[in-house]
């Protein structure tokens, strides 16, 4: 049976819909949700719950600066974020990730909020946002709350949104001092590829080549993004050399818990994700 699609223009309209229609499906670009709905068997009878599209709510779009923080509102598309000069200047790791996400048409439709709320282990925006220490803001009709992205993501496909809440925006501090922004994704092809493994890295490298500060995050090799302070601590204060990285590699291997799927085996994922650390050598003399 045909499905109803509601297209609110303002947040107030949205809250009203929430009030009237507790059973509904939210979506922004629909690039995850519509794929999921399509794969579900049709309902034998009765109308399926309505879809509520967030894409046309202006209040959920755009990138703003406030007190040294940048807020990317949830329904901003990947293309818009990629083009944004502030993001490009302060968070090149995010720009890099987005240039590898899906394809131009997916980036034109898909949103950062959708990517986060899908909470896929392979969600590409999650690793850079973890390294950047991003927070998220959830809002409901009468309140808002801020929490670290790490605590928002509960597990594969699961986020800490309560009934009546939406993801409003992502907050990132501007004043970090990392001078190396790195991201690499291993997929089955170069575009439209779901990550087999990925790694984001932020490094503050001294003029002498010492790692003064480092943040690392791996995607697609654990139920959620994999991070490890042990590894970061082991590398901090050390020179960026092949030996130093190789010494840390066993720690990486231990920090991951990948699975087998149609794209790759767990064993391959683990070894490749570990190897990705060596790619940081390219910045040695940078």
């Amino acid at each position: 049976m045909a499905r109803e699609v509601l297209l609110p223009r303002t947040l107030d309209d949205l809250w009203e819909i929430f009030h009237a229609e507790p059973e509904l499906h939210l979506y922004a670009g629909g690039t995850d949700l519509l794929v999921k709905l399509r794969s579900q068997p049709p309902l034998p009878s009765g109308s399926p719950s309505p879809l509520v599209c967030l894409e046309r709510i202006d209040g959920l779009k755009g990138i703003y600066e406030e007190d040294g923080l940048v807020c990317i509102r949830a329904c901003t598309t990947h293309s818009e974020i990629m083009k944004d000069p502030v993001i490009r200047q302060h968070f090149p790791v995010l720009t890099k990730v987005l240039s590898l996400l899906g394809s131009p048409h997916i980036r034109n439709m898909g949103t950062i909020g959708g990517n986060i709320c899908t909470a896929s282990p392979a969600g590409d925006t999650l690793t850079p946002l973890y390294t950047l220490g991003a927070s998220v803001e959830a809002r409901s009709c009468d309140s808002g709350r801020l929490m670290p992205l790490k605590s928002f993501i509960l597990g594969p496909g699961s986020v800490a949104l309560q009934q009546g809440e939406i993801l409003y925006g992502i907050w990132i501090k501007k004043d970090h001092d990392f001078n190396i922004h790195h991201f690499e994704k291993i997929g089955q092809r170069k575009a439209l590829a779901i990550a087999i493994a990925s790694m984001a890295a932020l490094i503050k490298l001294s003029g002498e080549g010492t790692i003064e500060k480092i943040r690392l995050a791996w995607g697609s090799v654990a139920p959620t993004v994999a991070v490890s302070h042990t590894i970061e601590d082991a590398l901090t204060g050390k020179p960026l050399t092949e030996n130093v990285l190789r010494d840390a590699m066993p720690l990486v291997t231990d920090a991951l818990s990948p699975i087998d799927d149609v794209r790759a085996s767990a064993g391959y994922r683990r070894r490749v994700a570990t190897n990705l650390l060596l790619r940081l050598l390219q910045y040695k003399d940078a």
């Binding site: 009878s45 089955q188 149609v262 990705l276």
Partner: protein, 768 residues
Amino acid sequence: MKRGKQVPFRIGTTTPRCDACTKVTGQEKYAADYYGDHFFWAGVKRAGTPHGKLLKVNTEDAKRLKGVVAVLTSEDVAGSNRVGIIRGDQPVLADKKICYAGDPLALVIAENKEALQAAVGFITFDHEPLPGVFDVEEALKKGAPLVHEDSPEGNLLRLVSVETGKGASAFDECDVIVEGVFQTPFQEHAYLETEAGWAYLDDSEQLVVVTTTQTPFRDRNEMAPALGIDVEKIRVIVPYLGGAFGGKDGIAIQCLLGLAALHTGGVPVKMWWGREESFLASTKRLSARMRYRLGVKRDGTFHALECRAYFDTGAYAGLGETVMTLGLEHAGSAYRIPNVSIEGSCVYTNNTVGGPFRGFGVTQVTAAMEQVIDMAAQRLSIDPLAIRRSNALEKGDKNCIGVTLTHSTGIKKCLAALSEHPLWREKEGWKMKAEQFKKRGVGIACMAHAMGYPAVVPDFANAKIEFTGEGRFRIYAGIVDMGQGNTSTYAHIAGAMLGQDTSVFELVQPDTERTLPSGSSSASRTTYVYGNALIIAVEDLKKRILDKALHLFCSAQAEELMLVPGGIRHREGKKKVSLRKVAGLFDEPERTCTAHFRSPAATEMLDRIYLGPHIIFSYAAHLSYVEIDMLTGCAEVIGYLAVTDAGNVINPQAYEQQIQGGIAQGIGFALSEDYKVANGHTDTNNLATYIIPTAMDVPDMMSVAVDNVEETGPFGMKGIGEISISGPVPAIANAVADACGIRIGRNPITAENIFQALQKQDDQEKPR
């Protein structure tokens, strides 16, 4: 739309294809674009289980749903309920057995898509599961479950063997023997346009089916007995296809559509498979396992070849045995080999359904042969190009099945051109420039590809061209244009002969009522065979036009007149008469010229191989630059060159499109495409899991056409549609071996496969 002055078509000069504009602007109407004010939707309930005895299909619940018009089972099929051009072993709707997961059990007709989907979900069936066979060699063992209990040789559909010279005993005379096992997977065609169609009974009770097929005339002949209707009562219309690559060669959607239209009480019915259904129920390139042994003399001369091949045709015969046979005919690629022992088994399994796919068996064997050659070259420390040059076939030589080559044979020219190309000359420098954690390699491969049907299958076309009352030319293309642009090339040929440009041509796509039977759109034959017929018809028409025009030029001879864009001119004088004016002088029956052409075929050695040998081949030599990421195993194709002998070039752009398309599809086969079937079920059932290359995965491809003329070809051309797909697997595999010394023996050569092989190599090299 205003355009510059139109230039007449010229042989050898690029002209954009006639269908380009209507396709990119969305005006071209494909089979899925038919709708009406009142029509029904049809859809299929499929088995979803690979092997079983079908006891009962329960349709009552589905029939009761609102909006459901009819639910049909095999009992509603009035005819034989069997299709399959060679064996007739495939049911329209399963009756006794389920032989693979895609088998259709019931056909639903509904008022709308939602009711259709719901009804399909309500159909259940009772069956007795049977153990399945999923491996070709297991299938041939005694006691293996039988896919078709009534098949005379059990699961062996066909055994083909060829022996020449001393056969395998010649290995005793060889200095070096190399061997290997090579495997290629099922490949999905993944055409943009999934199977679709529109069917109805017209006022005269004729069944009209507008659909996606490469074989309209053959389909009609298959549909009639299967559905129990007179062949004259079926009309098949085929618009441009959105890709086919062999996957629409034969019955897939046609009978289901036809059957539905017979049960709607005259209402038109539409069917349109989704991507998952297309993956499940369409044919695949037959997977193959090949044991190869090549014996070589110390100086690099190929002396003996042994090939033991198993091709998996899946649940039904289709054209599987001919696919394998064409492969075996090319088992020795493009070389002289005096002693061969070739044997292939085409085997039934419960995996999927095998069928034609661009390359038709040749892609599989070429992958194996061209790799053992590199292995031999390495053992003998001979350059891989040099060893190929010294063994390459020449006109007058016997090919690997012992048939003497009497037509154009340009493989040596291809190799010569490759050797002079900058990509070959500069390869060592390029390899040295690999960055940290990267290794680079260069690989080459040769290939041959036969054109047309095997000797005992008549290969003919009937061209038809009409000079319309408006002075335009209407070409009735009897061969489907599945996207390769053959019908556009028909206009190119006629235009070049008639001195006309694109604007005066109309192309009628195949329609069994309007166009003439000309065989399938397959076998790299479409331009060769129809083009030859068309040339005869156009010559006839041209003569008629000039003769008529004489009436308008007093005191002239026909030889003094010439056709110019839009009209006719006297060679010396200024006078020009429009085509429209000349057209006015024609009587209706004079407007149309038809001609028949039958391709030359072997007359000797017809029993050398099943259905007889081919005699005209295209040739090519490919080169690939590949970079391996040692940290991940990813292989990236950085550069690619194809040097081709497909005779003379009619439209360079169309030629290059075929070369590039074949290479891209071949790169997919080499690196990522893998239709995985485990115990009869697939995990790669859509485009998210079945990985075809994107534009980002395909490098710049260079195409060089060598100067060679096929005397029997229209303007000296021969087939170009398939050959280039056979190069990438071996050229890339050889490059991977060159880069890092590993040979995986099966494609796709995924990052994970390379990574594992590197690991193994590492472990072996480690001192204990």
